[in-house]
């Protein structure tokens, strides 16, 4: 049923998408550098229009969810694009943090709050700190306007594109069948369920994980030790 309201919001959505994407592309081109403020504003406006259209077109109960989803998607995709296009490695690492935060948001959207916590504590709190330290202990890559482009980047782009298409079409034609779900969410929260699985079914990987952690610490100490 194409009421005028629906048509209006559809146009808004598409226009927002087009304006946002095209201004982002222009932003990446060096010639348009003088207008970058204007373009960035345009991109944000396009994004807002797109999300507004999306929200308006979904059922009332799902609107907030859609809103969150596109917000997190913006963080994930924006962070990812920023991570590969930023010239400064340090800034690229910061963009990666943004992307990981978006993924944590996704986890919350699918009620996996434990994974969201792991994402924040381990990835952002631990691994990204390690990344940043790794950048900062190596003299030649900090602070410089390092050019990240390598001769292989077209090949990398092709590989990534092919992988993306494979995953995209698999996801598109994937039918979700009832699977052999073994651990129902009996505890009401998945942190408790994870605890249950770790202690009962995956007791061995759990214990071995401690050996693995011991090993990692041992290896790190042995590798960096100076006699």
């Amino acid at each position: 049923m194409a009421t005028p309201v629906v048509i209006f919001f559809s146009y808004l959505l598409v226009a927002g998408l087009l304006v946002g994407v095209s201004s982002l592309i222009l932003l990446a081109i060096a010639r348009f550098r003088p207008y970058r403020r204007f373009l960035a504003t345009l991109a944000v406006l396009g994004f807002v229009a797109f999300v507004w259209g999306m929200c308006a077109l979904t059922q009332p109960g799902y609107r907030l969810l859609v809103c969150y989803f596109w917000l997190f998607t913006a963080a994930v995709v924006g962070g990812g694009v920023g991570c590969v296009t930023m010239r400064n490695v340090f800034h690229a690492a910061l963009m990666l943090i943004l992307s990981l935060l978006g993924v944590a948001g996704y986890f919350i959207l699918v009620n996996a709050e434990f994974l969201a916590m792991v994402q924040v504590i381990i990835y952002i709190g631990g691994i990204m700190v390690l990344f940043l330290f790794g950048i900062m202990v190596s003299q030649n890559i900090i602070g410089t306007q390092l050019k990240q482009n390598t001769p292989q980047s077209p090949w990398a782009a092709i590989c990534a594109g092919v992988l993306f298409m494979v995953m995209f079409f698999t996801g598109l034609f994937m039918t979700l069948k009832p699977t052999l779900t073994v651990t129902p969410d009996v505890l009401g929260n998945n942190t408790g369920s994870v605890g249950w699985s770790l202690m009962a079914t995956y007791a061995l990987p759990f214990e071995v994980a401690s050996v693995l952690l011991l090993m990692a610490m041992l290896g790190a100490i042995i590798l960096v030790r100076k006699d």
Binding site: K177, T179, A200, Y202, A203, P205, M215, L218, G219
Partner: protein, 521 residues
């Protein structure tokens, strides 16, 4: 009523692994305590070697004991540990399927046999390390805990029938090896080898865990039994399951060095300290093949045959041809063995592709032969290698038969075993693997594999001819022969004698290996 996750008796079936892990903890605590006295510099080489060797021998004896239990009790498996659903609970309709009694770990003939082999490899590698460290003046007795941890991972790998425990066991196997490759901080080659192995190994692990997560998404569980059950009972083939399993296979292929995923092998094998290379060639290959075998025989049998058999055959064929062709003109002995390792992986993968219930037997025999030949050859390389070089080259080996007749003879025998000459164990292994594949109907692949082993004879014979026939070119470098350390002699004797003995009278080994059936679901 509460029910413990694992009973004491079940724990006792994990004995070999526990013994090794306890030895590691003892070694670490000894190191900590040794440092309490200001005069001491931590774990000494002799203590480390002694404790590690003791632990491995106890684990070996324990494995023999478990084997004995299996034969006495006349059961296929001693225990299924950590069943899928945790402790038993009220049965609903879905749980009447046999899937739910399947455990995360299984202690069966196959697993115990692999444990035995891993312990054997571990002991021989410990033997190798002691003189190696002394001669190269490396005060690195911390390597013994690392070595043992890696071996404990190998044992777990042979028992695990669950993608998660397989993954974590592979990590336990690999992480210590990344460190061990960079053992000598003064050697650039060591550092390079460590870094390359780490980067590509981490890449392979990434493939594996991504695939495992996709499998979990499709099936809802990571147990092999559950995967097989799902593959049988789902009406249409699930593309996400196939992609997941393909990625898992790619991860395993990385660790095994099957051809599109082999790029790390030559540099890592050549750059790593020779005993570590021996451990990688003998131990890692053994354990990861055990895991791959379990995956293929337990998770795949109900699946579409063409899916996995075709891809494994392709990888096998590629590995054989690429490994052999690149090995033809290698001058360095370690690099030659690295490329031949790729080719051998291909031969073993032929057995994997046949996927019969007897494949476990033939692959195990092949692996025993390969492990013995590899361990012996690398021992001799580390004995013959000049100071600071850690490798020998073809032109240094001319006329070796006159100057070191025993070493040359041993090296020649081990090379012949690798090439698959009759009267050596290598021949028995090749014969069994190829005949399995023939019975499975993979005629083209078998013919291809036989042609490849004919090619491989060329480069093995090139080294043997250099030692026996070719005169030394004037002005060529000459190996300085030292007195052979006792443990090298021991390793050499054990490997050569076993290669010949089991090659001439293989019946006993075959009989043992024939009882190594997987316990099944």
């Amino acid at each position: 009523m509460s029910q413990p996750v694992i009973t004491l008796q079940q724990i006792s079936y994990l004995g070999p692994v526990l013994v090794i892990v306890l030895t590691v903890l003892v070694l670490l605590m000894t190191d900590v305590i040794c440092r309490l006295r200001p005069s001491r510099q931590g774990l000494s080489l002799l203590t480390g070697f002694g404790v590690a060797l003791g632990g491995s021998i106890v684990a070996l004896v324990y494995s023999i004991f478990l084997w004995h239990r299996l034969t006495v009790l006349k059961v296929g498996k001693l225990a299924e540990l950590f069943p899928v659903n945790g402790p038993p609970r009220s049965v609903s309709a879905m749980e009447t399927s046999p899937v739910w009694s399947s455990g995360t770990l299984v202690v069966d003939y196959f697993a115990v046999f692999v444990c035995l082999l891993v312990c054997g490899v571990l002991i021989l590698v410990c033997f190798n390390f002691k003189p190696y460290l002394r001669i190269n003046k490396l005060h690195r007795s911390e390597l013994f805990p690392l070595l043992l941890l890696s071996a404990s991972g190998m044992m777990l790998l042979s028992m695990s029938r669950d993608l998660l425990s397989t993954f974590i066991s592979i990590e336990i196997v690999s992480l210590p090896l990344y460190v061990l490759c960079g053992l000598n901080e003064r050697s650039r080659a060591n550092q390079e080898s460590s870094l390359k192995y780490f980067l590509l190994g981490a890449f392979g692990s990434g493939f594996f865990i991504y695939g495992a997560s996709l499998v979990y998404g499709a099936v809802g569980h990571m147990n092999y039994a559950a995967i097989a059950y799902f593959a049988k009972h789902s009406l249409e083939s699930s593309s996400i399951l196939m992609i997941g399993l393909a990625l898992v296979g790619a991860g395993l292929a990385f660790k095994l060095a099957l051809v599109p995923f082999h790029a790390w092998v030559p540099d890592v094998y050549q750059g790593a300290p020779t005993p570590v290379t021996a451990f990688m060639a003998a131990g890692v290959k053994l354990a990861v093949f055990a895991a791959a075998l379990r995956l293929v025989l337990e998770a795949f049998p109900l699946m579409d045959l063409s899916f996995w058999r075709g891809s494994i055959s392709l990888l096998a064929a590629l590995s054989m041809v690429v490994g052999n062709l690149l090995a033809l003109h290698q001058m360095s002995a370690k690099r030659l063995l690295a490329y031949s390792a790729i080719a051998h992986t291909g031969y073993i993968a032929v057995g994997l592709a046949s996927g019969l219930s007897t494949s476990a037997t033939s692959i195990l025999i092949y692996l025993v032969g390969y492990a013995l030949a590899g361990l012996g050859a690398f021992t001799l390389i580390s004995y013959l290698a000049p100071d600071g070089q850690d490798d020998i080259y073809l032109d240094e080996m001319h006329e070796l038969s006159k100057r070191a007749p025993v070493s040359a003879l041993a090296f020649a025998i081990l090379m012949l075993s690798m090439a698959g000459f009759p009267l050596t164990l290598g021949f028995v292994g090749k014969l069994m693997v190829f005949s399995d594949a023939w019975r499975a109907g993979l005629y083209g692949l078998v013919i291809f594999a036989v042609l490849n082993s004919v090619i491989s004879v060329y480069y093995y014979l090139r080294f043997i001819l250099a030692m026996y026939m070719q005169p030394k070119a004037p002005g060529a470098a000459e190996l300085v022969l030292k007195r052979m350390p006792g443990t090298y002699i021991l390793t050499g004797i054990i490997t050569v004698v076993l290669t010949l003995l089991l090659g001439v009278i293989p019946h006993m080994l075959i009989a043992w290996a024939q009882s190594c059936q997987l316990a099944g679901l």
